[in-house]
């Protein structure tokens, strides 16, 4: 039955090819439904608690997605005619930004002062750019801004060497905001270009949530543009070196392309979208598909070299490889499918997409590939070879040195794996980008010179209409604000308590002694009413107060912190309120907080996912190897590489982000291939009654080279991915590449030594039987 099917594949090559190409075409057609989502919100499922709290807070107050334009005069002082002129001009232009609802700058800050019984609320410099900036205005701006807690450390640095214009945008509520994000970013870059030309004595830096989203888009697109072609190039190079045949390389390339097209197309049919994580799918699928093809093509080449007829050579290559390639594909798919445990939707998508791609690649490798190989006029010269391969020499060495290898390799594995706990889960969105990326550079500049990009919003709920005017509540807000400002990690706090103090002073003839909170509820309410009536469009208090004035939002900006420190800050704040004002409900929200939480949560879920992958794959191995014992033994070489990989990572990097949470699952599925091949050959020899030593030699001789080659292919593929300037993908590629190499080392050094030591029992009465020749021909 099986043989007839295989024979049919070869005898009806034309039909097989046409059918599979039609099927691929139909699948690939779905790719037209694919679209790209670049915003950071894709990382959070609709059920994510932090996302829900964040969105609720945005609806209660206002959204604060932003673009910050940081301006650095080369003179080192912003308080001069030219720079202030520049700021007024940029401020006026910034209002033209698509979807903008608010612009805050040094020049449009609403400064309040008293003049007898008048309350003057006016632009610190000017609303419009077409005014003459006098020395008096410059002096006043400097005096006011450097003493105003709402401005200093945010809009202007304490030394006055940089200033910032902040644009708040309200993107329309819809699923895919990518086009809007790009539109805003493009517009603001236009402003940047315009003014860097007109004011060459100033440096400009663009950052903020919108620019981060835009970088997500640009870097993912960039990855698509560079990694996929880079990967093709690497694959071409490897294949032509390994297969030494243009036509075989072409056939393999076609399998890779059809696998990618088919899986991306199916992804499209399912109505999915591409995101920063899923753009790496083609590279991963390509890598895994190559491994399948290499096994089959080199078997065929070997058979041809032995003088076999082409049809038979292909049929036998398929028959020999069908089971191992199937099992390794399934284990790989299982590894990827456990991404479904992740809390991050794009990672789940990536897992499903690659799992599908891997199985599709398997199907194509055993249908379309033999058909193509048959149809193409591939010729391999018959060759008699009697040389002793390097693998045999290596096997000799391993057997000779087994006494030393086992303890040493065990020590190394355990030693390195022991470092794993030194890794810290840390998700800092800005650090997803390499330092040479403009956005990262701008964010780092702002962090060093003005304020960080880590933002935390705290909403304080009194649950009472007008509750924010209560003097007791205001006292708490004042104390909380003071406490926040005493924290080392806090750069800036926007708090209404400052506004209240200032108004109280203004209403009392600007008496500095009256810079304190109003002591009566009605007084506070009436001050606020008066102030609100004086503010212009876009500079109101709706971003700090809800409509019935029962809740107040305090915006805290901090240094670029790791996720652990952000969660710690959140907990400290909750603790502060539990101690000082237990009646006030506090909610915390921000993109930074969302990333801080998802990192930890996702890591826990993926640990469950990886454990399940391990159990499933081990069960599969027990069945595949038809041995409980070898299934159990396989656990060691399957787990050790990932453990070592993370151990080495701890030494060199030490920070684990979202992208790395999936590495264990993924690597389990991939490295298990080595173990499957090695153990199955070893067991086959043992079942024939050979000793452990003979079986090790046999395993090396039959699959050693194949493992070298697939490891090389996989290593190259993931190293290409590691070139991504987007660390979610780049780090994942780098660590996976490393683990794949480690896996080979474990399988070549530790595993045989382990077997030689603990699998000494002799089967079938110790009778040495000649193992059929065919088995050692797997790889030429």
């Amino acid at each position: 039955m099986k043989n007839r099917f295989l024979a049919m594949l070869v005898s009806r090559s034309g039909l097989v090819m046409v059918c599979s190409l039609i099927a691929i075409f139909v699948m690939a057609f779905g790719a037209q439904n694919l679209y790209f989502r670049g915003d950071y919100k894709v990382f959070f499922g609709a059920e994510n608690q932090q996302l829900q709290e964040f969105e609720a807070m945005q609806k209660t107050f206002s959204k604060n997605d932003n673009v910050s334009i940081v301006i650095e005069p080369k003179s080192g002082d912003v308080f001069n005619h030219k720079t202030l002129k520049l700021v007024t001009e940029i401020t006026e232009d910034a209002w033209q930004t698509p979807f903008s609802t608010r612009v805050d700058s040094l020049t449009n800050y609403q400064h309040t002062e008293a003049e007898q019984d008048d309350l003057i609320v006016d632009y610190l410099v000017s609303e419009f750019a077409d005014i003459e900036i006098t020395q008096e205005m410059i002096d006043k701006t400097k005096a006011v801004s450097l003493n105003e807690p709402l401005l200093v450390n945010r809009t202007v640095s304490p030394s006055g060497h940089v200033t910032m214009v902040n644009i708040t945008v309200q993107l329309p509520d819809k699923l895919d905001q990518t086009a809007d994000v790009v539109e805003v970013a493009t517009f603001v870059r236009g402003i940047e270009n315009k003014y860097s030309e007109r004011y060459p004595e100033h440096n400009f830096y663009l950052t903020g949530i919108i620019m981060m989203n835009n970088s997500f888009v640009e870097e993912s697109m960039g990855d698509m543009m560079t990694l996929v072609p880079g990967m093709f190039l690497a694959v071409l190079l490897m294949l032509s070196l390994l297969l030494r045949s243009v036509l075989s390389t072409m056939a393999t390339l076609l399998i890779i392309i059809t696998s990618i097209l088919g899986s991306m197309g199916m992804f499209g049919w399912m109505g999915m979208y591409l995101s920063t994580a899923t753009v790496s799918a083609p590279t991963v699928i390509m890598t895994l598909a190559v491994a399948d093809c290499v096994h089959i093509v080199s078997s065929m080449n070997y058979n041809l070299r032995q003088g076999m007829a082409k049809r038979q050579a292909i049929e036998e290559a398929i028959e020999l490889n069908l089971a191992p390639v199937f099992i390794t594909s399934v284990t790989t798919a299982i590894g990827f499918l456990t991404f479904n445990f992740s809390d991050v939707p794009p990672l789940r998508d990536l897992g499903n997409l690659v799992a599908f791609g891997v199985m599709l690649a398997f199907v194509l490798a055993v249908t379309l590939l033999p058909a193509l190989l048959n149809l193409l006029p591939i010729k391999v010269p018959v060759q008699k070879q009697g040389q002793i391969g390097n693998m045999e020499k290596f096997a000799d060495w391993v057997v000779r040195r087994q006494k030393m290898l086992l303890p040493v390799s065990t020590l190394i594995v355990v030693g390195i794996a022991a470092l794993v706990p030194l890794n810290k889960v840390n998700d800092v969105p800005t650090e997803y980008f390499d330092e040479d990326i403009v956005f990262r550079n701008a964010s780092d500049f702002m962090d060093e010179n003005l304020l960080g990009v880590t933002m935390l919003d705290f909403a304080l709920h009194t649950n009472q209409d007008s509750g924010i005017n209560d003097p007791e509540f205001l006292r708490v807000v004042g104390d909380f604000t003071t406490w926040l400002r005493s924290q080392e990690r806090v750069d800036h706090v926007i708090s209404l308590s400052d506004t209240f103090k200032r108004l109280n002073q203004n209403m009392n003839a600007d008496d500095p002694a009256m810079y304190k909170l109003p002591q009566q509820q009605d007084l506070a309410a009436q001050y606020l009413l008066m102030y609100e009536m004086s503010l212009p469009y876009g500079l109101d208090l709706n971003n700090q107060l809800n409509i019935n004035k029962s809740s107040l939002r305090i915006t805290v900006t901090m240094d670029n912190l790791g996720s652990g420190e952000i969660v710690e800050m959140e907990n400290d704040v909750r603790q502060w309120f539990a101690q000082n004002a237990p009646t006030i409900d506090v909610t915390a929200a921000s993109p930074s907080l969302m990333f801080a939480h998802i990192g930890e949560k996702n890591m826990q879920s993926m640990l469950v996912g990886s454990s399940l992958a391990l159990v499933l794959i081990s069960i599969l191995l027990i069945f595949a190897l038809r041995s409980f014992k070898y299934g159990l033994i396989s656990l060691i070489p399957n787990l050790a590489p990932a453990a070592m990989g993370f151990g080495i990572w701890a030494v060199f990097v030490g920070q684990v982000n979202l992208g790395l949470s999936i590495v264990t699952s993924m690597c389990l599925g991939i490295v298990v291939d080595d173990t499957v091949h090695f153990l199955s050959k070893y067991k086959r020899a043992r079942d024939k009654g050979q000793t452990a030593e003979q079986a090790v030699r046999y395993a090396f001789a039959s699959v050693g080279r194949a493992l070298w080659i697939t490891t090389l292919v996989l290593f190259t593929g993931f190293m290409v991915l590691a070139q991504s300037s987007f660390s979610l993908n780049g780090d994942m590629g780098l660590l996976t590449a490393m683990i794949i190499v480690l896996a080979l080392a474990v399988d070549f050094l530790f595993l045989p030594a382990f077997l030689l030591k603990f699998d000494k029992k002799v089967y079938q009465g110790g009778e040495t039987e000649y193992v059929e020749q065919n088995e050692s021909k797997t790889m030429a």
């Binding site: 609720a56 945005q58 609806k59 209660t60 206002s62 959204k63 209002w95 033209q96 930004t97 698509p98 979807f99 903008s100 609802t101 003049e115 019984d117 008048d118 309350l119 003057i120 609320v121 006016d122 609303e127 419009f128 309200q170 509520d173 209409d465 007008s466 005017n469 209403m507 009566q520 509820q521 009605d522 007084l523 506070a524 309410a525 009436q526 001050y527 009413l529 008066m530 609100e532 009536m533 004086s534 503010l535 212009p536 469009y537 876009g538 500079l539 109101d540 208090l541 709706n542 107060l545 809800n546 409509i547 019935n548 004035k549």
Partner: protein, 267 residues
């Protein structure tokens, strides 16, 4: 018969007739038509004298939560300049008794005073800003100020049916650069020159808000007043209903009732 001279005569005739016809065809530009409608709208609303009403503002945020403001509004018509207005806040409780007096002007910033009962003082609000939210609502102060022809330049766009009424659609561009809007699109019905709808465009020329008028009632046989004005902010998802409850005309208010010195005695 046909000669050059003849042709010349013919051509001059054609020229002459077209010259005669042209002024008729171009009797009114779109700008002129818009201005004419605005003038008629103002003219029809002249002479109401003074009025007093109770209003409720219902604020809604994107989350669907509501908040209510309550106030009494007194108004005095001023010929040749903007009207005078006095707003006394009743709800929320902590601003009850706060009184806002404004003299609206056509070509200069309005005069505004606020009496703060908690401080027992009248404070002048010295600010040119009039585009900010009124009481945290979606109405800006400038949306509530009296309509004056000179505040905008006009351009008639088209006819359209709205709320079952034939209406002119007119683009109004504020003449004051301190306005928060780049333009407004106003639907004025043909039957009574009542405004049915206004779209507000922000300074970057995006649609910001839509104001719709409903429950028009006729007072003194001449003056139409909407009892429900709904402002929806398209960018933030927030909205505000302004509900006029009890409008009385010619209740005998005079300039003395709109005096900053008597502001503190107002109940």
């Amino acid at each position: 018969m046909l000669s050059k001279t003849n042709l010349k005569q013919w051509l001059s005739l054609v020229c002459l007739t077209s010259l005669l016809v042209m002024p008729a065809a171009h009797a009114q530009t779109a700008e002129e038509k818009g201005l004419e409608i605005a003038k008629e709208r103002k003219a029809r609303d002249r002479g109401w004298g003074d009025s007093e009403s109770t209003s409720i503002m219902v604020l809604r945020n994107a989350q669907g939560q509501e908040s209510v403001r309550q106030m009494r509004i007194r108004a005095l018509e001023v010929q040749g300049d903007g009207d005078k207005g006095l707003t006394i806040f009743d709800e929320p409780r902590d601003v009850a008794g706060t009184a806002f007096l404004n003299f609206s002007h056509i070509n200069e910033p309005d005069d505004q005073w606020l009496y703060l009962p908690a401080l027992k003082r009248v404070k002048r609000i010295a600010s040119r800003n009039k585009s900010g939210p009124f009481m945290g609502s979606e109405f800006a102060y400038e949306d509530l100020a009296s309509f004056e022809v000179e505040k905008y330049s006009y351009k008639y766009l088209r006819d359209e049916t709205i709320n079952g009424e034939e209406a002119w659609v007119i683009e109004s561009v504020p003449t004051d650069r301190y306005s928060g809007y780049s333009k407004q699109i106003v639907w004025t019905d043909k039957s009574h020159y009542r405004v049915q709808k206004i779209e507000f465009y922000d300074r970057k020329k995006s649609l910001l808000k839509t104001l719709t008028f409903a429950d028009y009632k006729l007072y003194l046989g001449k003056y139409w007043r909407a009892h429900k004005m709904t402002m929806v902010n398209h960018q933030t998802g927030k909205s505000t209903d302004l509900l006029a409850e009890d409008i009385k005309f010619q209740v005998g208010l005079t300039d003395r009732d709109f005096d900053q010195n008597t502001l503190r005695r107002i109940r």
